[in-house]
């Protein structure tokens, strides 16, 4: 098997790692195996590098396992290569058509994640309404290079959606930059945050405390913020009296909310609030004399469907910056993407064509396959299951591989546009990447894993000098650094 994995995030590395574990190189019965990972970002690890909040450094320990997988000589990483997405958002990434992958590989796996933010029809992006992903990309120095948010002129921030991404952004805005500066936060971001005038962050959810999308740990981090306090909640008006049917997580969240923030409200200069049962319906722009006006419909949670339904009442918030944090989706332009699902069509990790056929030797894993749901632990479990599926399809039937018990189907979407089915090459060159990649490697336009490790070490070294976890490089800087360190041939 010569497998091309599109995407080099955690899902891609967990799949590769599992395949190596199940087919050890040293075992004579292991079939010949090559895995090539392509990512349009020059650095590997997807959202672990360009998503996970800087004050969660422990989460990034998973990269040690990815490093170990990359040590297997059967794996190669090619960074700065955008595969098949016509709307390539990375200006410096080279474009590789999917046809090149089909020609050069026996198998393909899409681990492309969900790279686009979900937008709200009533809240189109503008200078005062920014998707949370742009803020995340700003503070992680993502190669799309978005401008910094206008924090100097902002006192009140409204975050729409109360998932963990929303809370990540809230913590970044409410934590003292001196605390953040020891983590993996670029110096220019720290400088910008030091000039911030943010005083209040309102986290707006269309449903109630029991349906909140954040998890307990992230709520506790908010509750324990040393320099910000929460406006106390009137929980009784929002939660049913009988607590019998609550899950463990729901009861623990309620307990935390009832206790309130560690710093009592009124004792800190910065504050935050959880505004439940409010759904945005419109946003009037700021004027010379007034802030932007965010119009919210009041909602209640339907007991049967647990959906938010409007009560008919509305209210208006004066705010300076609206940030939408409503989840993520895969680009609708990508092959096998279903507009309705917001991710690729799969059954048990196998790709499905728009006409409903399961494709041969073509797979998807991670957020590309499941949608933008779940933490690394769930991404890992999914990746292991997909690795098992790939190997089950690959191995002769009398030589079963150990598989994870799997439910027979995942959701199957229906789309009416027809997509040409993938035809992989059963006999490609046994080792080589596509010609275009070989050329681009010579020109220094593609990064290898060893390039990344050199940059990684250097970033950590530069960080040590500054007394922080690491100081990041951008593409230009990394390229220059690599050119300098490359041995001349």
């Amino acid at each position: 098997m010569k497998l091309a994995i599109i995407g080099g995030g955690p899902s891609a590395f967990y799949v590769a790692s599992r395949i190596f574990q199940l087919l050890p190189a040293a075992k004579p019965s292991s079939p010949s195996l090559r895995i090539h990972l392509f990512d349009r970002l020059w650095a590997p690890h997807g959202l672990v590098r360009y998503g996970v909040a800087p004050d969660h450094p422990e989460v990034k320990n998973c990269t040690h396992k990815f490093d170990a997988a990359a040590l297997d000589p059967r794996l190669r990483f090619f960074g700065n290569v955008n595969v098949g997405d016509p709307a390539n958002p990375i200006p410096h990434a080279i474009n590789l058509p999917l046809s090149s992958i089909f020609k050069n590989y026996t198998h393909i796996l899409f681990s492309t994640g969900c790279t686009l933010p979900t937008l709200h029809p009533a809240l189109p992006p503008s200078t005062y309404c920014i998707p949370a992903l742009s803020l995340v990309h700003w503070y992680t120095q993502h190669p799309t290079n978005p401008p910094p948010p206008p924090l100097e002129n902002v006192s009140h921030v409204s975050l729409i959606g109360n998932g963990n991404v929303s809370l990540d952004v809230a913590r970044m805005l409410l934590t003292n930059p001196d605390v953040l500066s020891k983590y993996d936060v670029p110096q220019h971001v720290i400088d910008h945050l030091s000039r911030s005038n943010v005083k209040h962050v309102s986290i707006i959810g269309r449903r109630g405390p029991l349906e909140a999308a954040f998890t307990t740990k992230e709520l506790r981090e908010m509750i324990n913020l040393p320099e910000a306090s929460m406006i106390p909640l009137d929980l009784d008006s929002m939660v049913p009296v009988s607590k019998d049917s609550l899950t463990r997580q729901q009861s623990r969240v309620l307990q935390l909310l009832a206790k309130g923030s560690a710093k009592p409200y009124g004792t800190t200069s910065k504050t935050w609030s959880l505004d439940f049962l409010r759904s945005p319906v419109g946003l009037a722009p700021p004027s010379a004399t007034s802030q932007a006006q965010l119009k919210l419909a009041h909602t209640k949670v339907d007991a049967k469907t647990s959906r938010a339904v409007p009560t008919g009442e509305t209210s208006v918030f004066s705010t300076d910056l609206v940030t939408t944090s409503l989840g993520f989706r895969s680009p609708p332009s990508s092959l096998f993407s279903s507009e309705d699902l917001g991710h690729l069509r799969t059954i048990s990790g196998r790709l499905v064509s728009s006409s409903g056929h399961v494709l041969q030797n073509a797979y998807a894993s991670g957020w590309a396959s499941t949608g933008a749901k779940g933490v690394l632990a769930s991404t890992m479990i999914d990746a292991y299951a997909v690795a098992d599926t790939i190997l089950t399809d690959l191995m002769p039937k009398d030589e079963p591989v150990k598989t994870t018990p799997a439910s027979p189907t995942r959701e199957q979407g229906v789309a009416d546009d027809d997509v040409a089915e993938i035809v992989m090459n059963p006999n490609p060159h046994p080792e080589d990447p596509p010609e275009e990649i070989k050329e681009a490697l010579k020109e220094g336009m593609v990064t290898t894993y060893s390039d990344w490790k050199k940059v990684d070490e250097e970033e950590v070294r530069r960080g040590e000098v500054l007394g922080k976890e690491r100081e990041r490089m951008g593409w230009e800087e990394a390229r220059e650094f690599l050119t300098k360190t490359k041995p001349r041939t």
Binding site: S17, F20, A25, A26, H56, E58, V59, N61, C62, H64, K65, D67, A68, A69, L71, D72, P73, L75, R76, N164, R206, R207, E211, A213, T215, T216, K217, R220, T247, R248, Q249, R252, S306, R307, A308, T370, K373, G374, V375, L376, A377, S378, M380, I381, D382, Y384, A385, T404, P405, A406, S407, R410, T448, Y449, S450, D451, W452, K453, K454, E457
Partner: protein, 150 residues
């Protein structure tokens, strides 16, 4: 070239080098002298009986003996991939989980009343002979410990 950089190991042209498993720094006791732990799969079938020392945690022991227990955050209570299920009589011997462990357990798949994070359970002599069951891996995605979505 003198190989001052560790990066060289990642070159695909280098001779084969098996990926190393993380060394969590525990020592195996002399056979017969350690605390016995029976690792079981999700159905309760014995995988391996191993020996470890007082103070070793279950994640480190699993890694030392190649048991398929992940530890994505390497014991920092930030991932829940080291979730294990203990027999009630042994669970009761342990100090109550801290808030941070409970927060991660909220998200663990297949949570039971006697679930713990393997990285937080340190062996004591009283735990000799304990069964440690791994939860069932499943492809039915568990998402942030919640059921209904909008």
């Amino acid at each position: 070239m003198c190989g001052t950089s560790t990066s060289k190991q990642y070159d695909d042209t280098e001779p084969a080098q098996a990926p190393m498993s993380r060394h969590m720094g525990i020592d195996r006791p002399a056979p017969g002298s350690g605390i016995k732990v029976n690792f079981q799969d999700s159905k309760g079938n014995l995988l391996k009986t191993v020996e470890a020392n007082e103070g070793d945690d279950i994640l480190a022991i699993a890694h030392e003996y190649d048991i398929d227990l992940e530890g994505a955050c390497e014991g920092s209570v930030a991932c829940s991939t080291c979730h294990v299920i203990l027999p009630p009589e042994y669970y009761d011997l342990l100090p109550e989980p801290e808030d941070d462990e409970n927060d991660m357990l909220d998200m663990a798949f297949g949570l039971t009343d006697t679930s713990r994070l393997g990285c937080q359970v340190k062996l004591t002599k009283e735990m000799d002979g304990m069964d440690v069951r791994l939860p069932a891996a499943t492809r039915n995605m568990f998402v942030d410990g919640k059921k209904a979505s909008h």
